[in-house]
Symmetry: C2
Subunit: 193 residues, 2 copies
């Protein structure tokens, strides 16, 4: 469960409400970890019970009160412990590869259709990473965040590396599928006359 640590990580920079935390998820770590508000709110309550956070209500008129969470010393310690922990490799979960594994079920053209659609999606995602990286390089981070920004950018680089690998893999896969002997679902065309 990285959600808890992501919340601690953001609250280590500033006190925030659940709503604001969600915005940080969406604008920074969204490409490798995301969470819905319906998961964030109960998580914050639980972490408060566990003494990792304290909550203070900011009263508002005509709107729900803001519940501002603040990280405690115990929370800071738990965050620091976790970022320094070496962990087992988590297992990969890639539904698309399950699809590919059983794709011999499909005729050639349908298979190519699915692969090309995936290629388009991978390309768009990669392009977004590149745009993000560009805007990232243009903004010089404040002195206090210089150190942090190096690591933030590393996670973006990971996205670009994986994204590039994904695009290249599908491109090669498409060529291999095109080159398959036409046994099922197509004519066996002779090219020597």
């Amino acid at each position: 469960m990285s959600l808890k640590y992501a919340l601690l990580g953001f609250l280590n920079y500033a006190d925030m409400t659940g709503y604001e935390l969600k915005q940080h998820f969406d604008s920074s770590i969204q490409h490798f970890w995301n969470a819905k508000l319906s998961q964030i709110y109960p998580a914050l309550s639980q972490m408060e019970k566990d003494g990792l956070l304290v909550m203070e209500v900011e009263y508002q008129e005509q709107r729900p009160n803001r519940k501002v969470y603040k990280i405690t010393a115990a929370g800071r310690q738990e965050l620091k412990r976790w970022v320094g922990t070496t962990m087992e490799l988590q297992s990969v979960r890639e539904a698309f590869l399950v699809q590919v594994f059983f794709m011999a079920q499909l005729d050639r053209e349908s298979a190519l259709g699915v692969m090309r659609h995936q290629l388009e999606q991978y390309r768009k995602r990669l392009e977004n990473y590149h745009l993000f990286k560009k805007s990232f390089s243009e903004v010089v981070p404040a002195e206090v965040f210089k150190e942090d920004a190096v690591f933030w950018e590393l996670t973006l680089d990971a996205g670009i590396k994986y994204g590039t690998a994904a695009v290249e893999w599908v491109e090669e896969a498409i060529e291999k599928i095109k080159g398959m002997e036409r046994v099922k679902g197509g004519l066996e065309v002779s090219h020597d006359g």
Copy 2:
């Protein structure tokens, strides 16, 4: 939920028990999708209720009876529909990147320690993929599985591509961390005297 379709996919090749299905998971799609027996058994029951499978009991003495599942026509149809469906890109979930994102918390050496450990793990995983690929190339698949084997190998190629990207990324990340200005957690060493 790909579990259901993975089960349909394997049962499309042969009738099997839950236990045998688990073995297929472990020996073929494990590197991009896995499941515990405690997830597989209830899933099979549900799929039987839904008419995608039928079950027949093989009586055994001194052991639990074997419940052999067989795919139905409806199951075959559902499998074929699913493999031909273009889907939204699923979001990435990579706990390690959350760790990296907040790693400025750590002193330089601890950060490098965590990264090097991850590099070792990525390398081992990649090496396994390469070994698998080699053994895969050596075994000539039976005529009936020629077509299928192309797709099976494609999923392995994906593992190798992603695995290579992961190794390269951490290697580069380590160099970047080494090159960071030493602001916190270390001596600022002067090299000009």
